[in-house]
């Protein structure tokens, strides 16, 4: 990790990523925590799915697959969101933000580094759960075909823009807002149609669900499990992610500037 020959922005992005990689190398509880929830979720829902198939027979196989696929893919969004938000919080907890912000790293480079760490954290957490689903329940997420990569990408992007919203609130309200780093995406679960179609939701709630890329991804996932690729849902997911990502970055940029106006970058943490 020391012999990197990078220049300019890539070097600075790597510098911030190296800071987090060094932290994980020295802290096995942090590493364990990354895998803990995805694996635990997989176990709970995997046994539930096995029970359903045992009771209802072949008719429940599709439902079980939708459950397991939903659990695994929703973890992609959750871990991606936490990857960005908690990496930012690590700087805050270590009272290191002042040093980072007076270095020549640009805000977009910091965002890129947080996203890079988020991808690594997500893969570390979700890949063991995917493997477990295959070994214990013979569920192969990749049986859906290459489209699963697009599901992954869209849910990662959703995790990132939610995280930028959380980081913006932390910049605005200090560490008092840090609980949102763990909880905010759970609040979107009912509207994301992870385990049921959007049509199950009350009519008044459906527009909220359809405004989220995740509901389109999960509608697409259920179609893919039955062998159909729903490009319309994927197009909606991509379009919505573009809009929400732009909004998240706009909010982050605005709150970063406000923090520089208020002097919050030195005092943040309370």
């Amino acid at each position: 990790m020391t012999g990197v020959a990078l220049r300019g922005p890539l070097r600075r992005i790597w510098g911030l990523m190296y800071r987090h990689l060094a932290l994980y190398r020295r802290s096995w509880p942090r590493l364990l925590e990354l895998m803990y929830w995805p694996v635990l979720q997989m176990c709970i829902w995997g046994f539930t799915a096995s029970f359903l198939v045992g009771r209802a027979g072949g008719a429940a196989v599709a439902t079980a697959s939708a459950l397991l696929g939903g659990v695994l893919l929703w973890e992609v969004a959750l871990r991606s969101q936490m990857g960005v938000a908690i990496s930012f919080l690590e700087e805050l907890w270590s009272r290191n933000l002042g040093h980072v912000f007076v270095s020549p790293i640009r805000p977009w480079e910091m965002v890129s580094a947080l996203i890079g760490i988020s991808v690594l954290r997500m893969l570390t957490g979700v890949l063991p759960a995917i493997l477990l689903a295959f070994l214990l329940y013979a569920f192969n997420l990749f049986d859906m075909g290459p489209v699963v990569v697009l599901f992954f990408a869209n849910l990662m992007i959703m995790g990132w823009w939610v995280a930028f919203g959380v980081v913006s609130l932390i910049l605005r309200h200090g560490a008092g807002a840090e609980a949102l780093a763990w909880s905010v995406l759970f609040g979107l679960t009912p509207f994301s149609a992870v385990f049921y179609p959007v049509s199950v939701l009350p009519a008044a709630v459906q527009p909220i669900a359809l405004a989220l890329p995740s509901s389109h991804v999960f509608e697409g996932m259920r179609a893919a499990l039955s062998g159909v690729v729903r490009w319309d849902h994927l197009a909606w997911a991509i379009g919505l992610n573009a809009v929400w990502m732009a909004a998240g970055i706009w909010l982050f940029a605005g709150q970063f500037r406000q923090a520089r106006l208020r002097g919050a970058l030195l005092s943040i943490g309370e």
Partner: protein, 244 residues
């Protein structure tokens, strides 16, 4: 041209004026001390110089770069140390220095880390987590971090606060030598008058966000008829500045 040029710098938070129309310049290779009591505006001024805080009014040019428009070009050639901002405590000293070496784009980073470690007596500490160090060791690590990019401008906020006299003297000696050898421009905020007297070519006395007096340490001693800067500081804090 000044290495640091500040013109009419002002910072207001609502009705409170933290810094009020401060103007000064620091020539390349010189050391300027910022003196003042708590709340005088020293840290606010430094935060604006570093781009952490956007001024309400005024301008800052560092190494010819306008900090409002082009701060990253200046930041690459600056650095900063303060006991009030920590380094990640779980990372080793070497890892911390490596992080900042990457952020500042330092070439020959491992050699630079070894060089600083040798100069600041950190070689035996390189593998230790930064959080397990004593206050004096942490200060030396923070100093090493602030010198990792061989800065042309160095901002130091109370660099020897909480250090024992021996370590404080070591740090001051090292800073004197570093400035002599590198030609670095230093801006130093401190409550330690002996330190300011020893290190600084000139001093700004701040009170309630304004410059109330300035000059070289001998000039200030002469103006106030005092033997040391601490007495000058007390005169200004309690009675106000004399007309310069």
């Amino acid at each position: 041209m000044h290495a640091i040029q500040v013109q009419g710098l002002t910072k207001r938070y609502g009705d409170v004026t933290a810094v009020d129309g401060v103007t000064f310049g620091v020539a390349p290779g010189r050391t300027l001390g910022l003196l003042g009591g708590n709340g005088a505006g020293k840290t606010t001024t430094i935060a604006m110089l570093l781009g952490l805080l956007i001024p309400t009014a005024g301008s800052i040019r560092i190494l010819g770069h306008d900090m409002a428009r082009d701060r990253f070009a200046a930041l690459a050639r600056m650095n900063f140390s303060s006991p009030y901002i920590a380094l990640p405590s779980r990372l080793s000293v070497a890892e911390n220095l490596r992080v900042y070496g990457h952020l500042y784009g330092v070439r020959g980073l491992e050699a630079r880390i070894s060089e600083l470690a040798a100069q600041l007596d950190l070689t035996d500490l390189l593998g230790r987590p930064a959080g397990n160090l004593s206050a004096g060791q942490k200060t030396r690590v923070a100093l090493a971090k602030s010198l990792i990019n061989r800065p042309d401008v160095l901002l130091l906020d109370e660099p020897t606060a909480s250090l024992d006299p021996d370590t404080g003297d070591m740090v001051r000696s090292w800073l004197e030598r570093y400035r002599r050898e590198s030609g670095c421009t230093i801006l130093l905020a401190s409550h330690n008058m002996a330190e300011v007297e020893r290190l600084c070519d000139s001093v700004l006395m701040l009170k309630q966000g304004r410059i109330v007096d300035s000059g070289s340490p001998p000039e200030l001693l002469d103006r106030y008829g005092r033997d040391d800067l601490e007495q000058v500081f007390l005169d200004i804090a309690r009675r106000g500045a004399v007309a310069a």
